[in-house]
């Protein structure tokens, strides 16, 4: 009797686990077909699509860009973790998969706003898992390693919403810290793990000499000013916005911060937390 009883704890764990697994089978990581999102922006290549390389059916694949929504993209499993600084650049248009060797859910192109550089959050058997620039926030996907150029960025950008502070780290050491302005209560700056998606100038925008769009989007604004609600780092004409929550989601920084941040490679991780 007692030897049989010795297994009860284990069986409890097994059954409870199976029940929970069954109960959560409609969880976040469901491969699915990509669907076209907004296409009204001008930067990048919104709307262009490629063909899936898997299966016999021809499947339209949406490009994963700041203008699109990729459904079925696995959710970032560790939105507060750093990485080892590896970033990748597609050498050619390449499918984005929900899992290594699995169904293609989107396509990644070599150039979007700028050259496409994406942070690597995991690697497995010749595949790399990257953060995606498309909606929804926290989207990830797997790319074939053979389609990618690799590089290393020694930088990490940390954004602390509670203290409204941005810190720039180089090889783990802080090399700069600045007060920032963040999104107001009804248009908050989204927390989580994202990355520097691009670096551009816009003669029609007077508020910042250079704008640094991130891979994330406003959670409350589907579009803004004719764009897809992309969150960005940039300056503001007046410095009284620093230390305030008054933006529509963007991260407003002082000019000297922008000067340093424009040196940082695209693909560099941006960790936004509530601290």
């Amino acid at each position: 009797m007692l030897s049989a009883a010795a297994g009860v704890l284990a069986v409890l764990v097994v059954l409870a686990g199976l029940m929970w697994m069954i109960g959560s089978s409609d969880g976040a990581e469901h491969p699915g077909r990509a669907q076209q999102g907004e296409q009204d922006g001008r930067a990048g290549q919104p709307g262009r699509s490629g063909q899936s390389e898997t299966g016999t059916d021809t499947v339209e694949l949406v490009d994963s860009t700041t203008h699109t929504t990729v459904e079925g993209a696995p959710v970032d499993p560790a939105p507060r973790q750093g990485t080892d600084g590896i970033i990748v650049h597609p050498l050619r248009p390449t499918p984005v998969h929900a899992e290594p060797g699995g169904e293609a859910i989107a396509r990644m192109t070599p150039t979007q706003i700028s050259d496409t550089w994406l942070p690597v959050i995991d690697e497995r058997d010749g595949w790399v898992r990257v953060l995606l620039p498309s909606r929804p926030n926290g989207s990830t996907g797997w790319l074939r390693g053979e389609d990618l150029e690799r590089a290393f960025t020694p930088y990490t950008i940390r954004v602390h919403l509670e203290s409204m502070t941005l810190r720039l780290l180089f090889r783990g050491d802080e090399i700069g810290s600045w007060p920032i302005g963040i999104g107001k209560a009804d248009t908050p700056t989204p927390a989580g793990r994202t990355f520097l998606l691009g670096s551009f100038t816009d003669a029609e925008q007077q508020f910042s000499p250079v704008i640094l769009p991130l891979g994330s989007h406003s959670d409350t604004l589907d579009d803004f000013g004719g764009g897809p609600g992309t969150v960005a780092i940039h300056t503001w004409p007046t410095e009284d916005v620093l230390g305030t929550a008054t933006s529509h989601g963007c991260i407003r920084v002082p000019r000297d911060a922008l000067d340093r941040l424009t040196e940082v490679p695209l693909g560099t991780l941006v960790l936004v937390d509530q601290q």
């Binding site: 009797m1 409890l12 959560s24 990048g44 999104g183 803004f224 992309t230």
Partner: protein
Amino acid sequence: MKRRALAGMGATVGSLTAATALLIGAVSGHASPSPSEAYGAFITGVIDPPQPHVQSTDGTEQSDTLAELPDNPLLDLRAATVTAGDGHASVELANVEIVPSGGLPPELEEALQPLLDPVESGVTQLCAEDPTQDLSGELPGELDPLTEQLSSQQLCDVAEGGTPALLSADLITVACEGDSGTFEIANLRLLGQEIEIPGPDANTEIPLDPLVNITFNKQFSDDDGFTTQAMAVELAEGEFEVVLASATCGTAQDEPEEPMAPKPTPVETQLPVTG
């Protein structure tokens, strides 16, 4: 006798076996370039990703606390503190309860019926015939340090009266420093009875079932570095996993072999951002 109580009774015997594997000590292993990390609890599909969880990828110390775990039938605690830094990591869990008071969900009790029936009859017989008999004669000799501390009369009383937390402890601490680890536990109780912990070797696995692997004070080295865990349960070849208090220590970061990423050159374009 209620089945709920019996489930706890049977699990108690399993825990008796498991508790013999608890250790205060350390073993060594090799470390490899990797970040340090620590988390309080992980249950596949339930507390997944683990919570609370910190990772230090750049050597700076990261810390987090959590006052409550997501609702689940297996694990409860009052406070979890995790810390990870340059070559060290630690976890401190306060007021931990495994299979907390209140018993099992009805579905679990029903599923366990085939296993519990023989346990029920056996325990009923034991308690009816002679609740004062010495349990140690019924259990493997290596369990003597524990069984001699337990009163079978109290266990029978518990089985009749309802189940307190199957296994509880005021404090569980794991920590690693480089390639060595420590594990401490304070005031461990089986069904409310406080017991002293002997000091067996690390990684003593509990041979409960071919499909189940329970290890207390699990210590191992892999590509992530050296890890010590208070308790780890693996089922179905790792498809389901429960880990309580895990600390992983990497070594100093080796610079990746990838070339340095380029400094970006801003492009002229238009992308309305959230401002």
